[in-house]
Symmetry: C2
């Protein structure tokens, strides 16, 4: 595919030629009509999420090769499905391109999308291809969930434990290394590559949803109404996720400074930044869940065995509607977390 890069442009190839090349990435039975038909879901609810990504705003050639742009875009949408407790079915891709875009760029983008889908589930079932002055990618993903297993932000209750999958801050560290490769003291390539991979190739935590479903199947089969898990993904940062859940649920949270899910290497190499990146860095695409204490520990045990760095209890839900970061050793002053430090799109 590299051979014609960057000679052949989208404008040279034309719309029909580009469509023909891109159809190889879609199942053949959904190509060619005004819309795609998906067979009925029967017993599950449909979950829908959409993202718009713009060159120079959400990605750039400087930090993200086209394969990773495609992977990340799909991963972000699948992460939103996971945050609802859903598993992926399909997605649509709207693509806006300047005529001078290399065809190879577009093919790598699609390859990244289908590689992510192949690993986590779902397929591309439709799309739109238009001219645009800025490269623009619009993805809508559909998933399914049993109606009594939906995870919502608004379901946290006082006494719930707050469980977080994975490390937080690595994606931001990777982005910083990509943006300012000579700004920092040399980082061992093992760590540097891991953080860059965390930024370019995030992994939606559908594995945690799967484990949770298995774990809870026994507990809730007798009484499905008792299912209650609050949660969301940490795409806009760990602090943002906890704050959004608390706001939607009308509760507060106390987080344990010592339990923040920071990669030990990150804390070592960036002692001044690691906590900030963990709380506010964003784009780690992990899950933040609030669970009743009686189901947390069996879930954690099972989950840690299956996946490293697994999941961590970082705090608990409290009644006062504020989110505080507290150091049990009292070496750090308590800190009140706010939405203002999170990512603002405008």
């Amino acid at each position: 595919m590299e051979s014609d890069w960057p000679m052949l442009s989208v404008g040279n190839l034309g719309e029909q030629g580009l469509l023909a090349r891109l159809q190889q990435f879609c199942p053949s039975d959904v190509v060619g009509d005004d819309a795609a038909v998906l067979s009925s879901l029967q017993t599950a609810d449909l979950v829908v999420t959409t993202d718009l990504l713009v060159d120079q705003v959400h990605f750039s050639d400087r930090t993200t090769p086209p394969h990773a742009v495609g992977w990340r875009a799909v991963a972000a949408n699948l992460s939103d499905l996971a945050a609802m407790g859903a598993t992926p079915i399909a997605l649509t891709v709207g693509l806006g391109l300047p005529g001078e875009t290399a065809v190879a760029w577009v093919e790598h983008l699609y390859q990244g999308m289908v590689d992510c889908l192949a690993q986590f589930g779902g397929q591309i079932v439709g799309g739109d291809l238009v001219r645009s002055p800025q490269r623009t990618l619009a993805i809508t993903a559909f998933g399914q969930v049993q109606p009594d297993r939906v995870i919502r932000r608004s379901q946290a209750q006082v006494g719930d434990l707050i469980v977080v999958t994975g490390y937080h801050g690595n994606s931001r560290a990777g982005l910083e290394l990509l943006l300012q490769p000579n700004h920092f003291a040399p980082i061992p390539s093992l760590e540097g590559d891991r953080w860059i991979e965390a930024h370019q190739y995030p992994r939606p935590r559908l594995d945690a949803i799967h484990q949770l479903g298995q774990r809870l199947a026994g507990d809730f089969t007798q009484n499905p109404k008792s299912f209650r898990i609050a949660g969301m993904d940490s795409s806009d940062g760990l602090a943002d996720a906890v704050l959004q859940i608390c706001r939607a649920s009308g509760v507060g949270a106390e987080l344990d400074y010592r339990k923040l899910p920071i990669d030990p290497s990150l804390a070592r190499h960036f002692p001044d930044r690691a906590v900030e990146w963990c709380l506010y860095g964003g784009e780690d695409f992990e899950l933040v869940l609030c669970l009743p204490p009686q189901i947390v520990h069996p879930f954690l045990d099972q989950f840690i065995a299956a996946d490293n760095p697994g999941a961590t209890i970082i705090g608990k839900i409290i009644a006062p509607p504020e989110v505080n970061l507290v150091d049990p050793q009292q070496l750090q002053a308590p800190q009140r977390l706010t939405l203002e430090k999170g990512f603002q799109h405008f």
Copy 2:
């Protein structure tokens, strides 16, 4: 809403403020999670379609006020659902905006979308709001259809009659009047306004799908497998629709020059352009259907009574894989239609 136009910009208001304003356009129970949950469809298949629309490419302040941008964008997607025989359920809206965009522009856009949905069905169930150098609108619409009632391009057979809803060419005439208001001889405002409305406020032909469903319910209840209708919408032009159906079905078509569905006023005011605009103008968002002769006439009778200009038989499907426009009075030379004259996105 006009009172703060154009002083208050999206950048001034901020993301959270704009989101709060836009949530009034969505049902309250779908706002606030990572994704929207739609109740299960049970017996129907899910139909999905997506469009990406970019300022200066697909719309502009010169020809389309924001309310009409929203209406047209929704109408185009609902038309794709109608083309599959489906009825609308919901849609998602991805919106990319420069910070200097007037908040009132965004509110008019959303009002146009919900006005179209209120008339034809469906609701906004999710979205994304991002910064973008060019105003960009990504819509994904979902509909439902009985699995044995799907309309596809590939199902035309020799002997089918080709039925077209509505007039073709009016949308293009409206666009020309908007782009070059002083270029043409004066047009009576009755006609001019009608053509501009055809361009700005197209109406997806879900009424025809509904009538077809009612008409066919009797014929096909005994033998649902016998349902076979080929079709698509005419968003890229009438000629394009016939050509696409023929290509997908491996057949050809003969169209009757005298039956082209041209608004009589259009033919009178634009005698040199009306046929070209009818065939290649595009964006009329009508339906082009291929039906077995035995069900065409009862359908047409019922349909004409319900809606003017109703539907017209414009030709028939033939075996040779070419599409010809033929004048039965032989005053016009036969003309071979090709895809090359249609709209190319690049």
